[in-house]
């Protein structure tokens, strides 16, 4: 099964490169969600879909950034599936276009 910006395959061996790509994918989606919220004139506007998913993606990204050494392949599969689910929801229903990854660090 192919998914994600970098054609990450589920049920696979998570190499250092794939973990790095997933972390950058998650950072990118988090930034897009935060930017969408920032562009709203008033934070009192309905932001529920963005807010909840931003919290979720912050947690996923934190886990990948801070605890990747204790995660096993099944954990990466799960976090990748969470990333894809949130990304797909926003691409399909909220009109967000996830742009190409900007490679920098």
């Amino acid at each position: 099964m192919k998914s994600g910006l970098f054609n990450i395959t589920l049920d696979m061996i998570w190499t250092a490169t794939l973990k790095y790509d997933l972390l950058n994918n998650c950072k990118t989606l988090t930034v897009i969600l935060a930017t969408s919220i920032a562009r709203k004139l008033d934070l009192g506007q309905p932001i529920d879909g963005y807010l909840d998913d931003l919290y979720f993606m912050c947690n996923v990204t934190f886990a990948l950034e801070e605890a990747s050494v204790v995660l096993v392949d099944a954990d990466f599969d799960y976090l990748n599936s969470v990333y894809n689910k949130i990304r797909n929801i926003h691409n399909r229903y909220k009109g967000l276009i996830i742009p190409a990854h900007h490679d920098a660090h």
Binding site: N24, I37, L51, L54, Y55
Partner: protein, 202 residues
Amino acid sequence: MAVIPLTIEIVEAVEATSFNLYDLTVWTAPYAFDSTKITSLTLTLVYDSITYTYLSADLKAEMGIGVTYVNLCGAAINSAFVVTPDHFYDGATQLNSTYFPDGYYEITLSVDHTYAGYDTPAVDTSHQGFLAENYIMASKLPLTIDINNFDYEENRLQFLCIAMLRAATWAAELGRQTEFEEITTKVNDFLDARSINEIWSV
């Protein structure tokens, strides 16, 4: 000519008084780390579209690079060189005497060397969102606790502020300066609206 894949990492101090510079380069043959082949280093940063250079008579000596080192920053693999803002100048203009102002930074380390067959200098640039003051300001957000009339919406928005700051940090790490500035502008508006004042950049 090949290029030595210099890789640096930057970690800002909690109170913005310095940042740690780490060398994550895998120094391996044919460019195994050899302090005698490192001739000089240059450290620069771009902040607010102005380029500042770390002023030092001899940065290599200041970093203590010698035969015991395993990378550019020390004798242990996780060694760091502590960089303070008072060394950075644009001409005669100092970046700051005591703290790194919050904002978007591009920090570049350039290393001149004598490794045969490799381009000189070896260069790496790290994109960083320094937000130490904003994080401390956000931690001071007041939330009046009234168990009979809890302000759930304000509570959610205050959590949102922290999440936005984290997202801004990641935006900078990805080199997305435009998004970094959009997100931090919104966070500052949010903090201003709640009368949270600057702590050290007043």
